[in-house]
């Protein structure tokens, strides 16, 4: 019976010493190696991975590339004008953006134009008086690259370009957004 290993002192001592010794040896053997230079994982829309790069036009016709924003904290928000929670969280996003942009915070509001319309996106931004850039994902490539499954979806990207948090669904409150970026803004620029 298994319980004898616990009732007989000699068996228990052997079990304990064996378990601890084997575990420590195992933990030492499989300790995580320092990541090799250039051996980075491919960009993926998952926490801990590099945010997949994209270049998209804004409503003003200016092109913005995510990679150009390295060193800043970037919030990527995928939205559509017909999505009620997207609309509900935009004022909070704008308020946090205005408060922290001087500290190096950027909001990229990526309109899923392939399932929306540029005119509706423009009217939406004007109605709400949004001050951050509105990007247009006309062919849906960026939404696919970010494996968008629901609207809105928000990615929090640190100064080093890695995804640090993901919020699927909404609406997000000002407190939520600010609490997620506070630590990221405090990090050193790499």
């Amino acid at each position: 019976m298994w319980v004898r290993a616990f009732t007989e002192p000699r068996r228990w001592n052997a079990l304990m010493i064996g378990v601890v010794a084997l575990s420590l040896v195992w933990m030492f053997i499989v300790r995580p190696a320092m990541p090799e230079a250039g051996a980075a994982a491919p960009p993926s829309p998952q926490i801990g991975f590099a945010a997949p790069d994209f270049t998209l036009d804004t409503l003003d016709g200016q092109a913005i590339a995510l990679s150009d924003l390295r060193g800043q904290v970037v919030l990527i928000n995928l939205w559509a004008s017909w999505c009620p929670p997207c609309r509900a969280e935009m004022p909070a996003l704008d308020a946090v953006y205005r408060k922290y942009r001087e500290a190096g915070f950027v909001v990229l509001a990526v309109n899923t134009t392939f399932q929306d319309s540029e005119a509706d996106a423009r009217a939406f931004a004007q109605n709400l008086g949004l001050t951050f850039p509105i990007l247009l994902d006309r062919d849906g490539a960026t939404s696919r690259r970010y494996q968008m499954q629901a609207l809105p979806t928000t990615f929090f990207v640190g100064r080093d370009g890695t995804i640090r948090d993901i919020v699927i669904g909404g609406p997000m409150s000002e407190a939520l957004i600010a609490s997620k970026i506070e630590g990221l803004l405090a990090e050193e620029t790499q």
Partner: protein, 249 residues
């Protein structure tokens, strides 16, 4: 990977659904186990419900306290139905404290209760592995193996499946093991689960390190040693009592 399920215009996160289902199944099996062990099934069921409600409240409170400067200006957000603003550590402590308080109140804060909860813990561990498989969390390290899965742009160890198989295996071992004293099944479960985490963490690609070692392995070894020490103490007590009974007859 199946991160969301769409039903008409409704998009549901599969991870949350699986965890909810796993929690419900865990309560059901714990309730049945409780009845087998002579405890009131309802008490064990309610203990789980109280625990999860207390845990959710504690998790949100923990988060709000941590980020009070933001919530002070936006107090309505404290009550937002959003799972992204929870503190897991605060939630765990609050859940355990609430469950303990409830068990004390019902006079069932004992080792037999832990044994009754054990099948539920096994079911929840299996559900957690399935939830990770659906969402792609708890992903494995890159590996070129015949059974590797393509996840996050690379072929990787299917760690979620390893954990699922481990949970099933642990369930079978505990189920088939004798229960000579109260707490035996719980202690055995904790020891085996901790050992499986210690072993399987090796194949993870998402591990955090402390002092050059994997954090999960350090915690797992701590839990494993604690479980073995407890089992030893309880087994000695049982053996002593059994000897006394033997002598008196």
């Amino acid at each position: 990977m199946l991160p969301v399920i769409r039903i008409a215009s409704l998009t549901l996160q599969t991870r949350g659904l699986i965890l909810l289902a796993a929690f419900w199944i865990a309560l059901e099996v714990a309730e049945r186990a409780a009845k087998r062990l002579g405890l009131r099934g309802d008490d064990v069921y309610n203990l789980g419900l109280y625990g999860v409600v207390g845990g959710l409240i504690g998790a949100r409170l923990g988060y709000v306290i941590q980020y009070w400067s933001f919530y002070r200006d936006d107090p309505g957000a404290i009550f937002a139905l959003n799972l992204n603003t929870l503190s897991p550590v605060a939630g765990l402590f609050a859940a355990l404290a609430t469950a303990y308080w409830y068990a004390r109140r019902k006079g069932i804060a004992n080792r037999r209760l832990l044994d009754a909860l054990t099948p539920g813990l096994v079911a929840f561990a299996a559900g957690l592995a399935l939830a990770d498989l659906a969402s792609g969390d708890g992903y494995g390290a890159p590996a070129q193996l015949p059974w590797s899965i393509n996840l996050w742009g690379e072929l990787r160890h299917p760690t979620q499946i390893y954990h699922l198989l481990a949970a099933i295996g642990i369930g079978v071992v505990v189920w088939r093991s004798s229960r000579p004293f109260d707490g035996a099944h719980f202690g055995l479960f904790v020891a085996l689960y901790a050992a499986s985490r210690l072993l399987l963490e090796t194949f993870h690609g998402d591990n955090a390190a402390v002092a050059g070692l994997r954090v999960v392995q350090v915690w797992s070894l701590t839990a494993l040693v604690a479980a073995l020490v407890l089992l030893r103490r309880w087994a000695e007590e049982w053996a002593r009592d059994a000897a006394l009974i033997h002598e008196s007859t």
